[in-house]
Symmetry: D2
Subunit: 347 residues, 4 copies
C-alpha cells in the first residue's frame, strides 16, 4: 500500500504514521517527491488499514497495490477452472447454452420448453421457481412447486437444471433438487447467501450486481470460494447506467477482462443484459466472441403470454436460430458448441 | 397503460392486441395520431402486462400510467407517517439524530460512544453487529456478541438502538434486542429479508440500494408495508455513479422528491453518502434543509483506529459541532431538533 | 403525446389544458382510467410542448410517442445508408478498418504506421492533429503541421484519411485536407460544430458522447443530416459508467440497437471503448459480430513511447493479428473484410 | 507517480523501465513488497508518462500522486478567489442570485422578468440567446437579437448580465455585450471554446459537464485560468446517472468537496440539476448550506408558455419565496444574501 501525504504535512504527522505502522508490525518507507511525499507500506496488509490511515492527520489518500483476490485471481491459479455439471463442462473451451423460461408457470409450459431447448441444442435447463420482483404485486413464482416441476422436466429430458435461490432459508431445499444454484443480481452482495450457497458444494452461478464493479463481483465470488467450494460460474448480465433504451448495459469489456484476471468460467446473460428479444442474438454472439464460456438465455413457448420478462424471451424458432449462429461462429473461432444434451443422450 | 404501436403496423396486429386485452378483461381505446397509433388500456392492470404486450407483433413499447405504489404514496395517504421509537418520533417535523460507530468493537468503545453521542444530542444509538463487507477478508462484526453489547449500551444511556440485519436467519434474534431493524444497501432488494423484517412489526430503516432508482426504493418499502407493518423509515445513503472523488453520490434531489411523493419519513446518511468525514457536516445540513426528517451518522472515539469505515466517521468533537450547526439551521427553518435523549431523561 | 394527469386533478385544470391545446392547433382526447386520466394529444407536436404542459396545474407528466428522428430513423428510410470514401464503402455489408496513431507525432511515425496498417489490411488511415486533452498540460497535437503530415502519408500509401476537427474555426482547414471529419466525444453535442462540419458535405464520423443516450447521439446526427449532408458514420466508443477497471464501458447493446433503429452506418472504437490494448481484439471482434460496419483502432509503432493514449494502442504485430481474426469471423458471418487498400492498389 | 509491477515480472522488464525513466530524466526507486513490487518515480512528471509506462512489459498499472491542478487548487492558492461583476462579488461569503428565463423570447418577456427578479432580490440577470438543444427541431434561441434584448434589459434595470456562448465564432460578439460568459454543460470540455472565452478576460461561468468527474471539471477551469484570466466561476448543475425521476442528479457532495480543494467560487444550478420546479427551492437551499456561493435559477413570467425548459422554471411568486427562504437560512449560517440590485441602486 502507498500512503500519499498532503502537501505541507508536518514532520510530527509523518512520525505518528510511521510509529502507527510500526505498532501493527508493518514497515514504512518514506519517498520524497518533487511535489508530494509518499510512504510505501510493506508487510502483511489487512483490508481495514486504508481506512485507518486515511483518517490520520497529514494523509491525503492511500493506494492499494496487491490484488484483492486470494482465490479467484489468475495470479493464484493461472489455469482455467472447469466446472462440471453432470456430463457438461463449463470453462472447457467449448460453448455451453443454458436455456428455459424466466419463470416456471405450469407443467405443460416447462415440459414443452425443456423438450424444445434440448432439441435445439441447449445443454442445461433453467427456470425460476422463486422470483425476485421489483414490485411485491408482480408474479413471484410458484415456489417449491415450481422447483419440483423444473426438476421433473430436467429428469424427463436428461438435462441438469439451474434455478435461483433467494434466501438462506431456501438453500437446502433448492440444493436438494437443483444441479446449479443461481444467485441473482439483487443478491449479488448478499454475503450470507453467498456463503450458504457455497457450503452446499454445488456449482453456483453468480450474477453480477446491477451496480457491482468488476472488483465487487469477483470479491463476491471469493465469499463462495472461501467456503471451500471451487465451482463458481460468473455471469455478466448487464449493469445499470444512464442509458434507458435498453434495460441494462451489457458490459462486453467485463467479459474480456474477467477472463484475463480470473480463472473462473464466465457466461453471458443477454436476455437481462439487453431486455429486448431482438437484441439477444447479436449480443449473445458478441459475448461468445469476447470470451464467454457460455450463454444463459430466456426461452418461452409464447413470450407474449409469459408471466415474467416476456419482452426479453425468445420463442423456440428464434432460439434455434441463435444456436445455429453460435455454432457457425464457435466453429470459426475454435470454441465449438459443447455436444447438445440431445446428441449426448438421444431421447 | 398506453401501448405505442410501431409505425406501419398491420390491422391484423392491432386486432390481435385488442382481442388479447379483451381476453384478460381490459378495454383498449385506439387513438390514431399523425405519426403513430396508440392504444389506451383501461381496467385493472397487473404488473406483467407491459412485458406481455411488448412481445406482441406491431407493438413498439408500452408506457405505465398509474402510480406503482399502493401503500407508500401520498395519493393513498396524503398526511405524513410518523414512526415512534420509544419516546422519539421520526417524521414529526423535528429533526432526529441517530449516531454511533460503524461496527461495535468492544464494550468500552460502544459505551464511550453511547455516552458521547447522547451528551451531544443524539436521540438514537446505532452500531453494527453483523457487517456486510465487500471482501470476505475484512472485519465482519462481532455478531451476536456485538448485538448484546449494543443493547446494553443503549439501555445504560437510555437510548433506543438501531442495527443492521443481514439475513432472514438473524431477523428474530435482532428483533429481540434492537428497537429498529436496519436493511443495508446491499440487501435493499433482498425481498425475502424485507418481508421477514416487516413481519416483526418493528420499525424498519430501509437504505436505498446502490443502484436503486427512487421507484425501486419505494417499491422495496411496499414489500414491508404489505406485511401490515407501517413503520418504515427510508434512508438516502448515496448512489453509485461515475464520480470517484467521493465514495457515493448523495442524491439530494431524491430527498426532496421522495418527501413529495411518499408519506414515509426519510433520513439521510451522509457518512456513506460521501465516504469522507470532512463532507459529513455540509451534506448532513444540506439534507435537513432539503427535507430529511433526520440524520444517521457514524461516530467513533478514534476514527483512525476504527475496524470499519474510519475514513467517514466523525470523532466526538466533530459530532458535537454537527449537532450544534443542525440546531441553528433547524431553528431557522422551523424544523428544530427533537429533544435530546440527554434532556428527555437526564442521567 | 400523452399527458398524464395527477390523481385528484380538478375539472378546471383539465379544461385549461384542453383549451391550451386548442389554442395551439392540437386536439386532446380525454381517457378516463381506473386510477388516472390521460389526454392523448393528436396533431403536429413540437419539441417544446412537453415542457409547456408539464408546468400546467394538474399535470403529472407527459410521454412522447412519435419517434424524435426525422432523417436518421429507419421509419423514414428503411434501407441502409452506404457512405463512400474514395473507393471504400462503409455500411455495405463488408467490414472496414480505420487505423493509425492517436496523434501524429512526426513524419517518420505517421509514414511508418501508414505503411504498416495498409500492409496489414486497413482501408483508411487515422491520426490526430488537433487533440482534445482533459488537462491543458498534456500534448495537444501538432495542429496544422500534423494535418499536412497525415495528408501526405495518406497520399503516399493511397489511403483516405480521417482526422478530428475540434472547433468551427478549423472546419474549413480540416475539410481541405481530410477525407472524413471526425467529431470527438467531448464535442458530440457541440451543435454548431456539427452543423459546420455537415455543411462541408464531407463524410462526418460522429462519436457518441461520454454521457449521450442513444437518443442524444442519433439526434446529434440529425444536426448533420439536417444540413443536407447524408454522409454520417456513427461511432460507438464507450460510455461513462461507475466501472473503473476499464476506461469506458463499450455499449455493445447500442451497436445492435442503433443498427435496428437507424439506417446510418456504425463503426466501433474499441481503443477508447476499453482503454486497454489487451481488450481491443476481443471487443473489436464482438462489435463486428453485434453489427458494426467497421472498426477504428489506434496503432502505433512503439506504444510505450506514444505521446498520447499509448496504453490503448496496438503495435503492428497485434494489429495484424486483429485483422486476421476479423477476416475469419467476417467470413463466417457473411460480412467479409472490404478489400484492403494494399490489394485494391498494390504499391 | 508509482508504477505497480505485475506479480512475476522479470528482472529484465524492471531494468528496461528503470532505464526508460533514466532516459527521460526521472529517478525510479524500487520497493519490494510482500506480494508486489512498485517503483516510485521522482522528478518532473509529464501527463503522458502514465500511458507510456502502462504499455511496457511487466507493468500492471500506474498511480498518480501529485495534484493535477496547477492553478485551480488550494495548494497553490489557499485563500478564496472573489470574482467581481460590476458591484457584485461572487465568492465573498455572501450569497448571490443569478436569475432570468432559460431563453430570451421577446422584449416584453425579458423586461418583465428583469424587473421581477430585480425586485425579488437577484443581483444578476441571466437569459439564453444562443441555445444548445438536443434536437435540431427545438427552439434554438433568438441569437444576436436575443443578446441585444438581454443587454438592454440588464442596462434598464441596472443588472449585469450572464449568457451562454456556444462556439468560438460568437465569443467576441457575446463578450462585447455580456458581463459574464457562460459555458454550457455540453461544451464543458470544448477546450478551444474554454481558451477563447478565457482570453476575453471577462468572468467565465463554467458549468460542469454531464459526465465530467470533479477532476475533469476543475481541469477544464485550468484551461481558462491558463490564459491568464483568473475570473472563473464553477457551476454544479447535476450529472447524468441512472436515476430518471429527476432530469439530472444534483451532486451536493461535489459542492462541498470542490470548495475544499479549489479556491474558485462555485454556484449551484438547481433548475437543471433537478429539472422540476417543485424541487428547485429545497435543492437551492441545500446547495447554499453545502457551501455554494450563489445560485443560478430559471425564472419565467409564464412557465407553461416558455419556449424552453418551462418545466423547471419558477414563476415570479415562487422566485420571491425562494429568495425569502434563502435570506433566512443565509442569515442563520452567516452567509447572508449580497445586497439586491434593487437595494444597491433603487430604481
Amino acid at each position: 500500500m502507498m500512503v500519499i501525504m498532503k502537501s505541507g504535512h508536518s514532520q510530527e504527522e509523518m512520525d505518528q504514521i510511521l510509529s502507527r505502522l510500526n505498532e501493527i508490525g508493518l514497515k514504512g518507507h518514506q519517498i520524497v517527491g518533487v511535489e508530494r511525499t509518499v510512504i510505501a507500506v510493506v508487510g502483511s496488509i489487512y483490508p481495514e488499514l486504508a481506512d485507518e490511515l486515511e483518517t490520520m492527520d497529514g494523509v491525503d489518500s492511500t493506494v492499494p497495490i496487491s490484488s484483492p483476490y486470494k482465490l479467484a485471481g489468475r495470479e493464484t491459479k493461472p489455469e482455467p477452472t472447469v466446472v462440471k455439471i453432470g456430463d457438461v463442462e463449463i470453462g472447457s473451451g467449448r460453448t455451453v447454452y443454458i436455456a428455459g423460461p424466466c419463470a416456471v408457470e405450469s407443467e405443460e409450459q416447462i415440459m414443452e420448453t425443456a423438450r424444445a431447448v434440448r432439441e435445439a441444442g441447449a445443454q442445461l435447463l433453467r427456470g425460476g421457481a422463486f422470483k425476485p420482483r421489483t414490485s411485491p404485486y408482480s408474479f413471484r413464482g410458484l415456489g417449491e412447486e415450481g422447483l419440483l416441476l423444473l426438476e421433473q422436466a430436467g429428469k424427463s429430458v436428461g438435462m441438469p437444471i439451474v434455478t435461483e435461490v433467494m434466501s438462506v432459508r431456501e438453500v437446502d431445499l433448492v440444493a436438494q433438487h437443483a444441479d446449479v444454484l443461481q444467485i441473482g443480481t439483487r443478491n449479488a452482495q448478499n454475503f450470507m447467501l453467498l456463503e450458504e450457497a457455497g457450503r452446499t458444494g454445488k456449482p453456483v452461478l453468480l450474477k453480477r450486481g446491477l451496480a457491482s464493479t468488476i472488483e465487487d463481483w469477483v470479491l463476491a465470488a471469493e465469499y463462495i470460494l472461501n467456503t471451500g467450494n471451487p465451482n463458481v460460474i460468473l455471469c455478466e448480465r448487464g449493469i445499470r447506467t444512464f442509458e434507458t433504451a435498453t434495460r441494462n448495459t451489457m458490459d462486453i469489456n467485463a467479459i474480456a477482462l474477467v477472463k484475463q484476471i480470473s480463472h473462473l468460467p464466465l457466461i453471458a446473460d443477454p436476455s437481462h443484459g439487453t431486455g429486448k428479444w431482438s437484441l439477444v442474438k447479436p449480443v449473445a454472439l458478441a459475448s461468445i466472441v469476447a470470451g464467454a464460456d457460455g450463454v444463459i438465455v430466456e426461452v418461452h413457448p409464447n413470450p407474449d403470454h409469459a408471466l415474467s420478462d416476456g419482452a426479453q424471451s425468445l420463442n423456440f424458432k428464434r432460439f434455434r436460430e441463435l444456436i445455429e449462429a453460435s455454432r457457425v461462429i464457435g466453429d470459426a473461432i475454435g470454441r465449438p458448441l459443447w455436444p447438445a444434451a440431445a446428441e449426448a443422450a438421444p431421447a
